[in-house]
């Protein structure tokens, strides 16, 4: 049976089946080989960024331009009618009457799901506060499959802020479909929430918790580093205690398997030392580049063009 994502919104990674995820990755692979495809000729994409974003907004807008489409929207709410008190429902209804597809980032959790219920055109969630960021998950999956040749039976080491990091939660949920083994490396204060761990337990997959990063490196296929987010700590002292918990240095990767790759959703602060950047196992900048192909694939699939 052929897979179609036409007119589907993408709000949470759980909206897609593993087959649908792989379908998007196949399309992304095609875009990586041939990024300039004039599929969106004459179409308009609404890009609504209610809060600042660097990579996500730029890679979406790059993806749209490579597809020959036009972008309308805003990169902050300054100067928009939102500042005059317009409701989210009204903003979305209006933009949906101008655009063929809406890409939205909004700091309010659940805003993307609500927008998809109000909008007559599909909505792609580009991040709704601490809740979901499914397109990041798609580019993470793309990067994993590209570097490992498969998504099946991999050992994934997740490092840093496993409590608040939404990309970690989505990645765990997605990789549970592919029989992954998880190594969880975090300070005690930032352990993976039990609701996320439940996904691993439900599928009876293996996971181990570590406090020392060195212990997990030798058997990892993927090392997924995350930033410890200062803004999540009400008490600055608590942040100071854990901020330098894990710093990956080049020498530590000597113990890694040849196929091991280091990923990071970026931006990084100091959790990956710059001396790692030149190591062939460092993959985080290519990962960010893969975001363009993954987003091209999602836009094309949702508009029924692929």
């Amino acid at each position: 049976m052929s897979i179609s994502l036409k007119n589907r919104s993408l709000i949470s990674i759980s909206d897609f089946t593993p087959e649908e995820m792989c379908h998007v990755l196949d399309i992304a692979e095609d875009f990586e080989k041939n990024p300039h495809q004039n599929l969106l000729n004459g179409r308009v994409i609404g890009s609504l960024f209610f809060e600042p974003s660097t990579r996500t907004r730029l890679s979406f807008e790059t993806a749209i331009q490579l597809l020959g489409g036009n972008v309308i929207g805003f990169s902050s709410t300054a100067g928009t009618s939102i500042q005059k008190g317009e409701s989210l429902a009204d903003t979305i209804t209006m933009v949906a009457s101008y655009a063929d597809l809406i890409v939205m980032r909004n700091p309010i959790e659940g805003s993307a799901r609500f927008a998809s219920e109000v909008s007559k055109v599909p909505v792609i969630n580009a991040g709704d506060g601490a809740n979901q960021h499914p397109t990041q998950c798609m580019l993470d999956l793309y990067s994993i499959r590209k570097t490992q040749g498969t998504l099946e039976n991999l050992e994934i080491t997740l490092v840093g802020d496993l409590k608040y990091g939404r990309t970690v939660h989505s990645l765990v949920e997605a990789m549970c479909h592919f029989n992954a083994k998880f190594n969880l490396v975090s300070p005690v204060e930032l352990k993976l929430p039990s609701v996320v761990k439940q996904h691993i337990k439900d599928r009876k997959l293996e996971y181990h918790q570590y406090t020392e990063l060195e212990d997990a490196i030798p058997h990892s296929d993927i090392i997924y580093m995350t930033r410890i987010q200062r803004e999540r700590f009400p008490d600055p002292e608590e942040y100071e205690k854990v901020k330098n918990s894990y710093v990956l240095r080049n020498a530590m990767l000597d113990a890694a398997k040849p196929n091991c790759r280091v990923l990071h959703p970026l931006p990084r602060v100091n959790e990956i030392h710059v001396d790692v950047d030149a190591n062939p196992k460092a993959y985080y900048f290519q990962q960010a580049q893969n975001g363009v192909y993954a987003r091209q694939a999602l836009i094309a699939a949702i508009l029924g063009l692929k």
Partner: protein, 155 residues
Amino acid sequence: MEKKKELTVSAIENGTVIDHIPADKVFQVVKILGLEKVSTPVYFGTNVESKKYGTKGFIKASNQYFAPEDVNKIALVAPTASIIEIKDFEVVKKHSVAIPDRIERIVKCFNPNCVTNKEHDVPTKFTVVKDAQGNIKLHCHYCEKNTTQDKLEFI
């Protein structure tokens, strides 16, 4: 000496009796069922002696009948409640309440940053989930956070 007459709540001819409500939840049940807005007589009592529970509350709502999906909403606060339908002073139906799979509009999401708390006119929607210990949690359709029973707040 003549025994002082006790004031009792009379039987209702037609309507619904909700019995075995936890004594401190009567007013929440009234609110959930919207009984503060009806124009027919509603009697209620609380801290009434109960053989089974020590104390209990009850509500008698004349000429009011409830759809199962409405009455089941009270299971969140009064899981022990029994619903007794009366016609011509006779009990025609008696059943307990069951926690529904979905809860809409009556409970607030505990997450202050949820769209249901930030935007006007976004009604709350939850899926009811039970954890391994049998505790009820309400999974928000929008922000995907779980509101636990100790954080339940009715709208």
